[in-house]
């Protein structure tokens, strides 16, 4: 009976913990990231996830012509220098934050409407560790009215 209870408790934790971690991540985005997109207007869509070292996340979005956009990558400090790239649909690199001292945000303008990809990568620690670091990463998109 005791063993059964233990198992149920473990299963419950497996289910609940990721939800809690995810919710905390979104709390981080609202508190730490969204205020920083100003004076751009936040596009209103939450793109945040808990990522591990070495993980890659992508955001597909449409850039309208002659509209100014700001892409802001907001990640927890413990993850180090999170890199981001702007790619076209042929996966050609248009911008790479690593070439700009791992800048957290950059502004973009396209003179024709097109689908673009924001790719984010969490760096890998050079020291081999037993526990892999993980933390919140948010891709915030703002546009200018």
């Amino acid at each position: 009976m005791k063993k059964m209870f233990k198992k149920i408790a473990i299963v419950a934790l497996i289910v609940v913990v990721p939800i809690m971690v995810n919710a905390q991540c979104k709390g981080f985005t609202k508190k730490e990231c969204l205020p920083q997109i100003k004076p751009y207007v936040y596009n209103g869509q939450l793109n945040s996830a808990v990522l591990n070292e070495g993980d890659v996340a992508e955001l597909l979005l449409t850039f309208y012509n002659n509209q100014d956009y700001r892409i802001f990558i907001c990640s927890q400090e413990l993850l180090g220098n999170t890199e981001f790239k702007l790619l076209d649909t042929d996966r050609n690199t248009l911008f790479y934050s690593k070439d700009h001292d791992y800048v957290k945000f950059w502004d973009f303008k396209s003179n024709s409407t097109q689908q673009l990809i924001v790719q984010v990568r969490v760096p890998t620690s050079e020291i081999k560790k037993e526990i892999v670091q993980s933390g919140c990463v948010s891709i915030i998109v703002g546009f200018k009215e």
């Binding site: 497996i14 207007v41 869509q45 996340a57 945000f105 303008k109």
Partner: protein, 299 residues
């Protein structure tokens, strides 16, 4: 055996909690490569999470305003109809619709109409159990800034984004997607109904409509992310029909240089685009948009 199961469950728990022990078999583990190297044929295997963004009602309305279209309030859904929407999916869809209607009236400085729509939106967010502090809702704030278009923008933006964040935080991403769907359909309904295809002055707006081809693909992917949502599932065949119609829109790019200005922290992506959309394709798109909107609206 039982011990093994317990051990396995424990390992799973610890793995989830600490997001994994270092293991070379893990798809998302590092291999010390740079982002450049990561972009290979294998990249899809490495991408842990893909997000799809659809233009918000504010962004869509902004595009319309820049195109210089006229104000036609008669095509909008009345803010008074809010009480007809009593179940969660319908309320979420109409919340999106009202978001677009509000963004549209706001662009034309219709302050009183904006307040009316905002009041209906407030009722819907309450019905959807989105807490007031999350919605950052304050009609009084708006009333105090009657002539301040920027304050209105601020309130609309906060409302939309806070609702989106709150719903996703609470594992209600399907409801957030219904709001986005309603907003996108209404914005496209407004666009297709305020233009005359044959009027050369409307060419820019027609092109804007044609360009929604991309956002539609993103929206369909977003909907597919909730395969168990009954309401979203119902819209998928119509969205696919719309996708087929948009596939007849021909958009050609000629890539030019990409210019980065270090001082301004600005990258400009230059290209030349040619958009071809026939009148029959436009009419078919307009018809399907109306069909989807009629499914959302309760008359």
């Amino acid at each position: 055996m039982k011990k093994n199961i317990t051990c396995l469950l424990f390992v799973l728990f610890v793995t989830t909690l600490f997001t994994g022990c270092n293991n070379s078999n893990n798809t998302f583990q590092n291999d010390n490569d740079t982002l450049n190297n990561a972009v290979t044929i294998e990249h899809t295997k490495k991408v842990k999470k893909i997000f799809y963004n659809v233009p918000s009602p504010i962004e869509m309305a902004n595009v319309l305003h820049e195109s210089g279209v006229q104000y036609k309030p008669e095509i909008l859904i009345s803010f008074k109809a809010v009480d007809k929407y009593v179940n969660v999916p319908k309320q979420a869809l109409i919340l999106g619709v009202y978001g677009s209607d509000l963004s549209y009236v706001r662009l034309f400085d219709q302050i009183q109409q904006s307040i009316n729509y905002l009041s209906s939106i407030k009722k819907l967010t309450e019905d959807l159990n989105i807490p007031e502090e999350q919605g950052s809702f304050a009609v009084s704030r708006l009333e105090n800034n009657m002539n301040n278009r920027d304050s209105l923008l601020q309130i609309v933006t906060e409302t939309y984004s806070s609702a989106n964040a709150y719903l996703k935080e609470n594992e209600r991403g399907n409801t957030a997607t219904l709001i986005i769907l309603g907003g996108w359909i209404e914005a496209l309904y407004i666009s297709t109904n305020i233009v005359d295809f044959d009027n050369p002055k409307n060419k820019q707006v027609i092109n804007r409509i044609a360009e929604q081809k991309y956002s539609l693909s993103n929206l369909i992917e977003l909907i597919k992310g909730y395969p168990n949502d009954k309401e979203l599932k119902e819209y998928l065949p119509l969205m696919n029909k719309l996708h087929n119609e948009f596939s007849l829109v021909d958009i050609k790019y000629e890539k030019r240089d990409v210019v980065t200005d270090e001082n301004k922290k600005l990258t400009t992506i230059n290209s030349i685009v040619t958009i071809n959309i026939s009148k029959s394709t436009f009419e078919e798109i307009k018809k399907t948009i109306t069909e989807i909107r009629n499914k959302i609206i309760i008359y």
